[in-house]
Symmetry: D2
Subunit: 287 residues, 4 copies
């Protein structure tokens, strides 16, 4: 793959003629070589969405100037919400985990193989199970147990650690605690959760038990951004596994866990590649 | 395929040692050649389920005697609920349809190709759209419009037609009317519906609109037996289609309809092959 | 969906900076409202691919002038292969079928429901099985039996019928005859076939028998453009069905046929929507 | 799940009436509680296959006597090939790996979570990459580089290590060396490989490159028992991933690796659960 530095624009604005021409014309004048462009129009809402990735012609490009000019000549004219990410600035990710390790191990396997453009400096858990796994991977591990009495104080400790490690994105890798609204507000659309059902079916606790009781023929997993409404945030990725009449709840858990880890890792990748735009509690995923 | 006449036993009873031995020993003494046997134990409920299909050694076998002896030596001993179907007795099926024809055409295509062991003597609709399609296929078509005032009376007309045609099984091929509890009681676990969502997500009307609004990445279809609780009957078959961010509601409908017709036809086949046992609002499907 | 007339450009050329800007700038100056734009760069080949769909600002737009100007200001400058299709000019499609009717019935069901923007004036078959089905749908049916001796002459008859009906695209809906190179040359990348295997596995005859003998766990279907090399043309669409150890060859056929008809219909739709570009025997499908 | 010790019979013999009755009658007389029974008849070959799992009534059951009696009263009478496994005798597994770690990490994650009934005492590699991962998991690691000159000698070293660790099953977790026929003969149907294509498509080296060049729309992975014919052994499990026109070869590798590890782990589980019977180079998988 091309290892040249790229910039990625994510943008959305009211639909109108000439948006793509205006954006690509701006980039052409900067001698940018566009390597990927995707756009989407929500016809019902008359709203426009766009992702453009281009090679930076010069690694010393003045980013401040680039963004100032983009804002002036494109963004403000089109009433655009936009952001630009640069591939040489690695996002920093923290993992929260409880006692199920399958998602954590899957993430660590990819991290150690260099599959993603990311740094993972911090793992936080309310259990000690995975302390040595974290240490073997060279990642700071903090054991922060949570109960009804200490939750607010422990979240403050967590927030301080996240700030100290300059974390951009938090992954809840089967973290079995509900985050407070205050905590979530610090990381809007930057906390990625995996829920072990095909949402909106079976939100909340014990979805595999509910799936078994309802007698569904297929189980699912859903990765979404965390919002203050439980299991109702914008969905980034979902997938399913077919089950059979002879699968007990334990079989659903086992088959489901394979699905959970793949779905979560795909969602993380979409997020890290700047492929996700959130609009009206829905994710536009430019894959 | 083997065209010899077969008998199929569906049975369920409290789990206990020796059930299979008792059943297969009974059949061995009748010189039955078993061509398929599947069993399943619900460990949590300690309940046993079984499907056995065997070749009848003699087409003149005395069915009354066979069933009387089975009841005496096996069924009553094991406190079994059981039934035996014979492949030379074709089930008789009626189709109810409204204005969406994709499921109807899929069923008719299979019927005309002889894919299923079934007779389809009757189509009932609250619209006239598919009258000529029915007639081309040589099937009686009855136009029975429904409104709030005539519903009870029209259902009586429907029930009379079903009785007259000696119908065993009713397929609701996107029939957009809710059946009364009285009607349903006439055909317990013999009315097969297709719902255009991945139940229990999005029950009720307009599931594709709801799916689009929630921003799911996958849509589904569910075929189930109709019970008096709407969209909550035992699920026979489900399947899904992946969608993308650029799919509008109309695209969801189009992609979903392909899925609906395949799911419904698979469910009908399972039912006609005597592969489905209902227990506690769940279907055991011996596929 | 928007019923306004749209134009769709399909284009490919050597990759170079500024292609999108040049195309969209051209369209902006024509006051075209772009409703969809997708592009793709084959990095290894340094080749660029593009599909743009826009609303025609005026139904009386002078197409000759538009294409002349596009050629002059964009196409020739970028050394582009390109074509423009207009949504109010319906493609005309002919169906070739033999004795398996499942794909034919699926196409007719969609045609009668108005699912596609297409006219189907002609069905040709080497058997008489589906004459009445064609006639019920109001489509000309021609019985043209083929054997080793009459093949060249019968293909001439077919070509004359195709010309007479001004056919753009031919669908081989399980047509069990191999077309001559001469015939294929009349319709380059305009003949769509369905092969009942996951190509390149199991080309040629009896793929379900081969799949059963090899013991695969999944069977597939492949829709591709016909080229002179058997079952080796550019692939438009594929899909699969999982099978089990208890499926006999007859079960593979049955399950496979459901897959075949869906895969073929998806491929036809991609083709009719002008979503397919062929490059080096591969299809770029802008879905 | 039930932690009681179970025995599992795998058996195949020419089809004939009364097989199931004979087997289950034998077990009933031993007071065995059958927890699962699956059978399958290959109608074309007139051959019978069976898997029965039952709870041992007494952990001190005399296995030699049980098997002697089974052989005498059932096996020899029916000309059966059969074996019985006991759940309290853990299989011992060795992993062979080269430089791709995704399958290895997936296996280790499951091993450490106790997902399988297995011991993994040995990892062998022709590279040193995963020495510390093995050691962190408490598994013996042996670096055994292979080249054209030392292959025979190094295989002898491997065989000695396998014997020393009393290994039952070998998993080739993307091990990029071809085993000699002599080596394979030591472990008939006990060496499980993962091939990164949907076999029989794309056997041999670089299947993702071949898939990209052929323009397939779906890629696959295949886990099979190793035989002396390369990539042609009996298939245990397969699965697929859909790809898009904008996926480069590197994307195929990345998406494919997720699939490979899941397919391999499913195949290992089927093998460890004694769910696989090999017959005429096909696997009957009782799932």
């Amino acid at each position: 793959m091309n290892k040249q530095i790229t910039a990625t624009l994510l943008a959305e604005c009211p639909d109108q003629p000439g948006i793509i021409a205006k954006v690509t014309d701006f980039l052409a004048k900067k001698n940018a070589n566009i390597v990927d462009l995707e756009q989407h129009v929500d016809v019902a809402d008359q709203h426009f969405f766009m992702r453009v990735e281009w090679q930076l012609s010069d690694t010393d490009v003045n980013r401040e100037l680039l963004e100032k000019e983009f804002s002036e000549y494109v963004g403000s004219v089109l009433k655009m919400n936009w952001s630009i990410a640069y591939s040489n600035l690695k996002p920093r990710l923290a993992i929260f985990v409880s006692q199920h390790g399958h998602c954590l191990f899957d993430i660590l396997s990819r991290y150690q193989a260099g599959e993603w453009n990311v740094d993972v400096p911090l793992i936080i858990s309310n259990h000690k199970n995975y302390q040595s796994s974290a240490e073997n991977a060279g990642i700071d591990f903090h054991y922060i147990p949570i109960n009804a009495d200490n939750k607010q104080q422990q979240e403050s400790t967590q927030l301080a650690l996240l700030a100290e490690h300059r974390i951009d994105t938090i992954v809840l890798a089967r973290y079995m605690q509900i985050l407070s609204a205050n905590f979530i507000d610090h990381y809007p659309h930057q906390i990625i959760n995996i829920h072990h059902s095909f949402l909106p079916a079976f939100p909340g606790a014990k979805p595999y038990h509910s799936a078994h009781e309802r007698g569904v023929k297929i189980i699912g997993a859903t990765s979404h951004y965390v919002t203050t409404e439980l299991d109702a945030g914008p969905i980034i990725e979902q997938d399913i596994v077919r089950i059979r009449h002879n699968d007990h709840v334990e079989d659903l858990k086992r088959k489901g866990q394979d699905n959970e880890k793949i779905v979560l890792s795909r969602a993380i990748r979409h997020h890290l590649q700047n492929e996700v735009l959130v609009y009206k509690n829905r994710c536009i995923v430019f894959d």
